[in-house]
Structures are given as C-alpha cells and as structure tokens.
Symmetry: C2
Subunit: 419 residues, 2 copies
C-alpha cells in the first residue's frame, strides 16, 4: 500500500504532519520519524478537504459561452438543439474538460446528471476524480420513451457494478414537469432497493411552481413527497422557490438540497434561497455549480463567495451565512449526502484533500484564512489535489491537460456547427 506524508501542513491554523496510506488518512500528528513513499514539504500550505460539487452536468462544459445574454427560453432551445446531436465522443471530451476544470479548482468529487454515462465514467476513471454519475430520466410524458429509458437505466446499473470504487451509479429524474409519475415512482423504488442516489431538479423557477400547482394542485416539493420520493438518498437541486410547508417537508425527510447560486443568478431564476430555514428544518444543504452552459464555470471557491454575498444581500444582514458553515456546505455536507467518509480531515476518512498555496496578495494579511480563501482569493490558489490517496494535480499541473483543452475545443466547435 503506497504512502504519502504531508509534512508540516497547516490544518485550521496549526502545523501538523498527515500520513496517507492507500486511499485513507491514516495518521495526523507529529510524524517526523515516519518514512513514506513520497514526502511533500507543505510549508506555507493549508490543507482542506476537497470540494464536493453536488450538482453539475459535466459534458455541458462544451457549451460554455455558446449563448450569452439570452432570454431563458432562447437559451434552452439552443441547448436542447445541441443536445439532440451530442454523441459518446463529445460526452467523453466534455466530461474530461469538466473534470480538468474541477480538479484545477479543488473539487475531488462531483454528482453528475447526464446521458451516455459510460463515456463519462471513462473520463472519471482516467482522471482519478471521484463521482456519482446519475442517468437522467426525461420522458416528456411519452410512455414508449419512458420504457426505453427505464431499460437503459437498468442495463447501465448492471454495467456499473464493474466500475472502479471511486465511481458510483445513480438515477436522476430530470424534473416533475418533464417526467411522468409512473417513471418517477419507478425511479424511487429502483434507487431505494439498491441504495442509490436519486438526483433531481426541484423548484428551480417560479414558472415550474405555478404549473405544478395547476397540474397537480401542489408544489413540486409536495408532489415529490406525495410520490414517496423524498429521503436521505434524495438530492434535490435548486429548491429556490419553496414555501414554509415545502421547507418543513425537505427538513423532515432530511433531503440533500443543493444550492446553485451562479446558475440561479445568471439565468435570473431567483436568488432568495432559504438557507437558514432549510438548515434549521433539518435539510442537508450542499453547494453545486450546475453545468457550465448556465453558470459558465465549475468553480466551488467562487460559488462559496457568491452564496455568501447573495445571502448577506437579500437578507440585509452582513452576519448572514457564516464562513464556517459555508466551508462545510462545500465539502462535508456533500460527502454526507453521498454517504462517504470524506469532506473532513480526520484519521480514517478518505484521502480526498487539497493544498492551498497562500503565497499571494489575496492571503495577506493572514488574519483569517477562510475569509481570505472565500472572499479574497480565487481557485488559482489550489496547488495540489489528492483524490482517493492519489496525487491528481501537483504544482497546478494535471497530466494530459493540453490534449484535453485542444480536443475539447475542437469537439465543441464541431457540436456548435451541427445545427
């Protein structure tokens, strides 16, 4: 079993040595006398758990910047047009580009929602990151389509049993306005029986809420609840438009609610996210970037800043959104949602860790490291990334990055010209 020693690394302000054995944090303390296969001098570096990006559509990085300053419907039509033509090769290079960006900004695990999962898995496997890949059901209330998708979903699950342990399979319901109730129920029992994550979009827009009230006589949250789909294995992205009753349900069921502030702001879908209320009710609030087609990047440090700024602003309270909670939301809460012993620096936890280089004006003075990280710096301070005990970025270099940038750009242009 290979070992890595992080020598004199700063953890919450204190210098310690950290020994990684295999994919686990084996020991933390004064480990001067230990010999490891690899020793990294961490002078001036802070150690953090890697970020867990709890909602994205990785391959959509191919559509970054393709439709800017557009009204929502025009943007969606453009994206849907493109998605009709996306193939396995495109999915693969899109995912590689996304994973490269995530690694370079300190993310060690992500929850994805997309199609052609085996190609995304190939990218995850090669790049060394950790991921839960959810196959998205989107039947548009068409029974034949639903049957085909269910069959594919089942067969992908069978294939996933041979996957590397860094990667797990899950199921997504796109949203309750695009998927029929029978399919939703099927997804609920399929995931429950197998202990898989059930990933979905809930209450991203006001329009969606008003339509659900007309169609089902209830809000999207209440609709999911009525179908028995909400529990600790459910990951509900957005939940921007929730009322008191919705919050009570999400809390009572311990649902993992993912706030994607950049996407919500940029698409103008709503920003008064009820963080305090959801937390107090018992929901596990996590952070996500959404896909780069809407939020333009997959940067969790930037996401933390924007979340805090938006909470302080709309609540008219500069004390809103304490930094310590923000840091938990960006790493540990995601790990809890995905049922992993990660997102935390402690003996026995998975060695999904990042080193932050504080040698820059953004970290001076060094009164408050977390405030400097979140409010002053940007993701270029992430210097080394370790996932599952392997170094996947060092000195900001990721193996193969030039080829990924070149191929992804070429493929994106090809995709953009199909229509």
């Amino acid at each position: 079993m290979s070992t890595i020693l992080l020598e004199q690394v700063t953890i919450k302000g204190e210098k310690k040595d950290v020994l990684i054995k295999g994919n686990i944090i084996a020991e933390i303390g004064d480990l001067k006398n230990i010999k490891a296969d690899r020793t990294i001098n961490c002078n001036g570096k802070w150690l953090l758990p890697g970020f867990v990006n709890m909602h994205t559509h990785s391959s959509m990085t191919l559509m970054r910047g393709i439709s800017e300053d557009s009204p929502l419907q025009e943007w969606l039509n453009k994206i849907w047009d493109i998605e009709e033509h996306i193939d396995g090769e495109m999915i693969y290079w899109g995912a590689k580009l996304a994973i490269l960006e995530m690694i370079k900004s300190g993310t060690t695990c992500f929850l994805d929602m997309y199609w052609i999962i085996p190609q995304i898995y190939r990218a995850v496997e090669e790049m060394g990151i950790r991921a839960d890949l959810t196959y998205v059901l989107l039947d548009n209330f068409d029974r034949e389509k639903a049957a085909r998708q269910i069959k594919e979903c089942e067969s992908l699950y069978e294939r996933s049993r041979e996957w590397n342990q860094r990667c797990r399979y899950g199921v997504a319901i796109h949203a309750d306005y695009t998927v029929c109730e029978d399919t939703m129920r099927w997804a609920g029992s399929f995931t429950k029986d197998r202990g898989l994550v059930l990933h979905t979009h809930i209450s991203e827009t006001l329009k969606e809420n008003l339509e659900d009230k007309k169609r089902y006589g209830m809000t999207p949250v209440q609709h999911f609840e009525s179908l028995g789909l909400l529990d600790k294995n459910t990951v509900a992205a957005h939940c921007v438009w929730v009322d008191e009753n919705d919050i009570e349900i999400l809390g009572k069921r311990g649902v993992n609610v993912v706030h994607n502030i950049n996407s919500n702001l940029k698409l103008a879908s709503g920003y008064k996210f009820k963080y305090n209320e959801l937390r107090d009710a018992g929901a596990n609030v996590c952070l996500g970037t959404d896909g780069a087609a809407s939020s333009n990047n997959l940067d969790m440090i930037e996401t933390m800043k924007t979340v805090a700024m938006a909470q302080k602003a709309w609540r008219e309270d500069p004390k809103a959104m304490p930094i310590s909670e923000l840091m938990e939301m960006a790493s540990h809460n995601g790990a809890v949602a995905l049922n992993m012993n990660a997102g935390i620096i402690r003996e026995g936890a998975l060695a999904d860790l990042i080193l932050i280089d504080t040698h820059s004006p953004f970290f001076v003075p060094d009164f408050n490291f977390e405030a400097n990280l979140v409010f002053s710096a940007n993701s270029s301070c992430v210097e080394t990334v370790i996932c599952d005990g392997n170094i996947i970025m060092e000195g900001r270099k990721v193996v193969g990055e030039d080829e990924i940038l070149e191929k992804a750009n070429e493929i994106a242009w090809k995709l953009s010209k199909i229509n």
Copy 2:
C-alpha cells in the same frame, strides 16, 4: 524613446501587431518589419486595456479579513479604531500591497480616497501604476478640524505639482453626513478652479438617505446638487439608494457614478443598483472595488462578474447587463471620468494594457472570449501588465512582491494589536 512590439496579439478576435513608443500606443496593424527594443510573442494572448478601479481606499488592504461576519456598526467601529493609529509607514506598505494585488489582477489605474497621501504617492511611484489620489476631508462638523484639513489639503496640492505624470492629486468629501457644508463648498471651488477630481461617497446606505431627508429635507444627491458640487469632474461612489429625481440630476450633470457591488453585497447595504436608468439618464457609470476591508479584494474581473450577476438577478432578466457594456465600465468609462486618453486600444492612446493568457479550461471552448473572461475565468489569467508604456508585470511576476507580502503582513499584525 523605448519601444515594445506586441507581436500577433489578439484584439477583439483578430491577430494584430501593436507598437508601443514611450507611453503611447503608436501603431496597430501588420508590423512584421519593425524592430523594437523589446518584442513579445503574443501567441494565444488577448490584449485588453488595463482596468480602471474607480473607487478604493488602497491602504485598507491591511485590514482584509480583520472583522468578518460582523454587523455594520461593529465593523465600522473596529475599522475606525484602527485608523486612528495608522501611520505613514503603515499607509505606505498598505498601498504597496494594494497596488501589487491590483497589478496582478490587471488594473493599471485607480482612484484612491485616503489620508497621508505622500506615502501612497511613494508606493504608486515605485510600483509603476497610474493613480488619482484624493485627500479625504472628514471634519465631523468640527470647524477647527475642518480648517486644519483644508490647510493640509492645500499644502498637499502644492507638493503634488512635482509628482510623476502618472499620478494626480484630487480632493474627496468623505460624505455629506460627516462633512459640514462649508467644507463641502470649499472642496467644490478648490477642485473646480484647478480642474481636479472631486471624489465622494453618496447614498451608500438607506440610513444615510433617511438622515439627510431629516437634516436637509432632501436626498444626498439633491444636497450635493444644491451646493453646486455635481459635474463631470465629480466621482460619486455607490449611489445605491437613488430615486428618479436623483437619477435625473446625476445624468444631467454627467456625474461619474461608481458601482462597488462586492462592498455593497458584503456589508448588506443594498444591491438594486440602477444601472440602466443611470446610463440612460446620461451618467458615466464606472466600476470600483471599494477597500479590501469591506470587499476583501481589489479584483476588477471578479467585480465585473458580480455586477452582471446581481443585475440579471434583481431585474429578473438574464439579458440585463450586456458584457460589452460591462467591459467598457471596467476600463474606458473610468478613463473618461479621469479625463485620460486610455481604457481603449487605439493609436495615440496611453499604453495601459494587459495580456490575457487563454490557455486554461476556463477559456475552453473559445466561443466567446469576453464571456469566458467575465463569467468563467478569474484574474490569474492576467499574464502581463503594461502601464504608461512600461512592463510592470510579466509572466505574473512583479518585482519585489515577496518583500511586499512579508512587510505588509508584519505591519498589518502590528496595526491590529495597537488597540
């Protein structure tokens, strides 16, 4: 006169050569045959005008992160306590740190508001950036204090006449709730007679507006107008709380209004900035970062993103704040406000330029450079900075940066312990 040739640099999507002679952009075109003192191969680099940060308090970078998640009054008391003890040496190192950060994030000119101006000038002179330094009048309605400050303001003006041409002197009225009307009138005529910038805070908070209505029976904008203080040489920071009549006045007078979104969000002082209305009325809207004590950094690329996101969100319109206007606000509009031929890439303009390195996942695919810069990348993409025809950062290295980080940190800790 020294010359620099930027070879095959991308300007708005087209590759061109740019010749800098002395401090001026001398020629743009196909300049293959020209020999320059220095030739820079700009393959894969985009050229932009340097950013103009139109509102900051440079030396306050020493207080970055000193009082986080605090209520406004507690934050202010802490800052004021500290400022009573700040001396020339502290001001100097604080300004050096601020300028280092600004250069590293692509800013070539800033408008400052602070005290102990000669020490800030010394920092500007040494670092090679361009600046307008405004001495801040803050008499707290005390006539003796006002007389002393006016005398100092006059004497600093005399000293400034020997300054390097990159640096100009101006006067600031802290705000109309901290400065008596006589002092305000004096500042108006002093700046008008000498063609200097008059810099001030106007309508940052709702409280300030309500107090003015009680004290003067009018809004802060109307109060400044009644004293004849608003014209094209006035730079009004914030203007968050303005009504229709205020907007009409600011527009009619062609006032330079500076939006400082990060500070406004973080201090929860208001975010519904009336960009469209101010622009349409005729105001020159610019961008600023405010001091790092409130906004935590001096990063104009991040500022552009946050401005756009906030406008899209509160206006509930994803088309709000087109990128092209945003780019103008961050550079050219500031140059116009300060009456400089800069903030634009054209022959005859000042050579205040930055090179952007697009070799990173944030710039892939390359459908839309400006969208990638503003919404995806961060300021670590700024690779080279040229100010007044001199290269002041190259390959992200600034001369003397290690010493600045070390000294500024030391001084900041000293300052924090005075109380």
